[in-house]
């Protein structure tokens, strides 16, 4: 676009007037939409809380939940303990070989 065209465009834009009036309930509409979004977010949290209260209200669920946590702890302890045990056994076996075959480690 040439500079002269740009000047003309500016002139046209400065002469341009909007005659349409704003809707009368624009402000109310904006606030209503904000309130709707917020209430849907709280509704989800309320739903989640209600679900928690419902399931934790059942004795069987609470027992299963606590049992599952204990089982998780048992399995994690077993897995970690066994891996630690294997590491120590390997270390001690290597130490035995190093002690008995020390001449093999000399330069």
């Amino acid at each position: 676009m040439k500079p002269s065209d740009d000047t003309e465009l500016h002139a046209v834009l400065s002469r341009w007037k909007v005659d349409l009036p704003l809707p009368t309930d624009l402000r109310e509409n904006v606030w209503r939409q904000i309130a709707e979004v917020e209430s849907s977010r709280w509704a989800f949290l309320d739903l989640w809380k209600a679900w928690l209260e419902m399931v934790f209200g059942r004795r069987a669920f609470v027992l299963s939940y606590v049992s599952a946590l204990i089982m998780l702890g048992l399995l994690a302890g077993l897995w970690h303990g066994r891996s630690q045990q294997r590491q120590v056994q390997t270390l001690l076996a290597e130490r035995y070989v190093e002690t008995v075959a020390s001449h093999q480690h000399l330069p």
């Binding site: 994690a76 302890g77 630690q84 056994q89 001690l92």
Partner: protein, 158 residues
């Protein structure tokens, strides 16, 4: 919500207690081995299921072997040091240096021979099946170009 929180706190606390209990129990043998005077012998005892008499015999063999091995190591270090000094001084392979190299090779051979004798003696101190297993394991660990997984020397694959 409060019930969920209480159940979670109790559940997590019990899970941590279960974890600690099982971990402590599972690693108890290793802790016992590590705390004794000769952890490698404690390992040998557990790994090859030695009874008290076998432990006493293997411990005596181990102590006697180590005393002699220590002396051989000392001699080898001294030979290494003198060989290094001679080579640094002459910068060539002189007849004295060749003699020193032969002495080191002989000493290495002696160390190797004594080590295999020791393995055989220790294996005989164990129950027959465990002794065979020990000897196989010990040879796997110490024979050149053979690893625990029975793979060959890396140079052979190139």
């Amino acid at each position: 919500m409060k019930r969920a929180l209480i159940a979670s706190v109790i559940g997590v606390a019990l899970a941590v207690a279960a974890y600690a209990g099982v971990f402590y129990t599972t690693t108890a043998p290793s802790r016992a081995e590590l705390c004794c005077a000769a952890p490698e012998l404690a390992w040998l005892t557990n790994e090859f299921k030695l009874d008290d008499a076998q432990v006493a015999r293997v411990s005596a063999l181990h102590a006697a072997y180590l005393a002699k091995a220590k002396e051989r190591c000392r001699r080898m270090m001294a030979l290494n040091a003198s060989l290094r000094a001679m080579m640094a001084e002459t910068g060539e392979i002189t007849p004295e240096i060749e003699k020193g190299m032969n002495e080191i090779a002989q000493l290495r051979g002696e160390c190797q021979r004594e080590m295999f004798h020791h393995f055989v003696e220790v294996s005989h101190a164990m129950a027959p099946e465990e002794g065979r297993r020990y000897l196989t394991w010990a040879l796997d660990q110490t024979l050149p170009c053979r690893s625990a997984s029975n793979s060959v020397c890396p140079l052979m694959t190139q």
